[in-house]
Assembly symmetry: C2
Homo-oligomer: 369 residues x 2
């Protein structure tokens, strides 16, 4: 008599299970809270205290919608990057912006190129709009931008995804490498340059790309170096025609008002950012030392996390991971070979890393047994 | 040599201009801030102080992503509504959820029925997925649910949008009226019952609809009665199959962590909600008195805003509106006839309404001149 809603053919075809399992879910399943939260590349050093204060102050104004144009934040970002406000769109984290971008560009059957094991949320959005993902392997634990671009030319891809630095391997290309690879970009292909972790990378990892170059859109975030993952503030930079297209479809009133206010203040506190970057560099060195003490190798990192090569296959790394998690330390591991011989650890505070150091030997012993 | 990204045919066809102009934009254009903010149906009485406190406390944890499952909030909402957690999906405001719903159900050429002058954001999302909107006129300043449903049957619509109480007219149907109209729902049509303002309405405005009835999805929000518009927390309730479909496409890490925490606390402070509802009822009476003192008629309202019939045509109402705005009071007006003979005023505090009372006579005089 009654029947359910008629989903689109595409929506009906999408898998009901999704790859997003947060640490809270794991905590609920295991019945206790993690002692250290080092699995989601969050920045435990947190945002500028001034940003926290701005957020707390804005809480009293939360009865008001945020500015749908993100005017103040967008203009401050534009000044910071020396581009026009029309070159920046603010959204609900890079995740939200990737969703909008996929919607603008990807239709059923459209080809998209990425690396096997790269950011799953991008893949989720592309598949969600019916796109066909073509994945290339990592090369020496790095995304192979030249190969990605060559593949895009070969199959007439509409998007190429490339993160610099990369997640989950923490590797990077130099800006010069990227500029060189761009020479071969086919017409009509857009490079999604995900720079979520760029503030942690060496200065020379930033390519010089003209802001009005229509071949590239860059993604940035307040979730990582600025320590505000829970606020959901990301932004995309690119040619004005590309950027303004987001206004056709985005959730104009989607931004949290207190998050808008805090991001503005966080951006202005570059001293805190510098301190965070120093803290993270120190943590990377500590992680490298801990790995080495256990006979493992920490891969070079230009991010706030480190991939630790467990020295064997994926099953072994998984056994190490599971044991670490069972001991109350939240970590994750890369999804795909050959990265899945590693576990991935976020740069924690000294006390977080001390916990990791404490549990690692037993985890290795258990995995070897 | 280089060319821009290849947008989908649909994306390329969408209008670049959008209907969302926030009060901040108006303030920037006019060069001064509004003295009273009564145009966006925000709840100036604000959220529970306990919710503000929860938000401020959570600011210190903002380095962590929010729980992608919204577990605690969803389960607390489920208990509140006496339904299962699988019957509730939390999202970035009703606006965000309407976008997801349109994406799940509406494809190019699919028919959708709404009222002419009803919620423009719904229309924005439907058009954004290529849907074809069919609009019926208001009847006696109320959305005509029976006619909307009859039209849906006639044209084989996939969605029918109906807000109870209605925005912008503040009118409502009884739950019994809605239940009676539902008898004629065609198979395969989903009624989007937007109850953003339901907490302000008489108890008997709430229809009894089984939670697993696949013909209806209900939208609720923390933006209105709970006073948290800037936090972006809405939820949809309905049959589990409909609700879980959102997981296929939603931005799983889209929720602000502090907003999740605050919504939970706001929900639990039902005393504050009761006080807010009383404050709003008082404000409605004041607005009605102010209108009457100027020879105008305030329409009956079951919301936190009131449509005031300016007694002439749309041009006259627009002139009144513009003059009120020019005097520093932010108000809006319905878009479509016959509602656009009115201006629409949110329920402010006594001091906000005093400002409105102060500027109204001059605005009327100017419009009559």
């Amino acid at each position: 008599m009654t029947q359910g809603p008629r989903f689109t053919t595409l929506a009906a075809s999408l898998p009901a299970t999704v790859p997003f399992v947060g640490p809270e879910t794991q905590e609920r399943l295991q019945g206790y809270d993690f002692k250290a939260r080092l699995g989601a590349n969050e920045n435990v050093f947190g945002p500028s205290p001034k940003a926290i204060e701005a957020m707390q102050k804005a809480a009293g104004d939360i009865w008001m919608y945020g500015d749908p144009e993100n005017h103040d934040l967008r203009h401050t970002l534009a000044a910071h990057h020396k581009v026009g406000a029309e070159n920046i769109v603010v959204g609900e984290g890079i995740d939200g912006l990737l969703g909008y971008l996929a919607r603008l560009i990807v239709g059923p059957g459209d080809k998209v190129v990425t690396s096997d094991g790269a950011y799953p949320t991008f893949n989720f959005h592309v598949a969600g709009f019916g796109g066909e993902l073509v994945k290339l392997p990592y090369e020496n634990d790095r995304e192979d931008l030249a190969a990605l671009i060559a593949k895009a030319a070969e199959i007439n891809a509409k998007l190429v995804y490339f993160a610099n630095p990369d997640n989950p391997m923490a590797s990077w290309l130099t800006g010069a490498d990227i500029e060189a690879a761009l020479v071969d970009m086919p017409a009509g292909t857009l490079l999604v340059l995900d720079e979520a972790y760029i503030e942690f990378a060496p200065e020379n990892a930033i390519p010089r790309i003209a802001i009005d170059d229509p071949r590239v859109i860059r993604m940035r975030t307040f979730s990582k170096a600025y320590g505000m993952a829970g606020a959901r503030v990301g932004y995309a930079m690119g040619a004005a025609d590309t950027i303004t297209a987001f206004n056709k479809i985005r959730n104009h009133f989607g931004m949290n008002r207190a998050a808008q206010a805090a991001a503005l203040v966080a951006l202005e506190d570059q001293d805190w950012l510098a301190q965070t970057i120093a803290n993270v560099a120190q943590a990377r060195a500590t992680i490298s030392r801990i790995a080495s003490d256990s006979g493992l190798t920490a891969l070079p990192s230009a991010t706030n996390f480190v991939a630790i090569d467990c020295g064997a296959d994926a099953a072994f790394a998984k056994a190490v991971l599971d044991n670490i998690v069972a001991q109350g330390v939240f970590v994750r591991m890369p999804f795909a070979a050959p990265g899945n011989r590693c576990i991935r650890l976020s740069c924690g505070r000294p006390q977080d890393l001390a916990l990791f150091e404490e549990v690692l030997p037993a985890a290795l012993a258990a995995a070897r047994a």
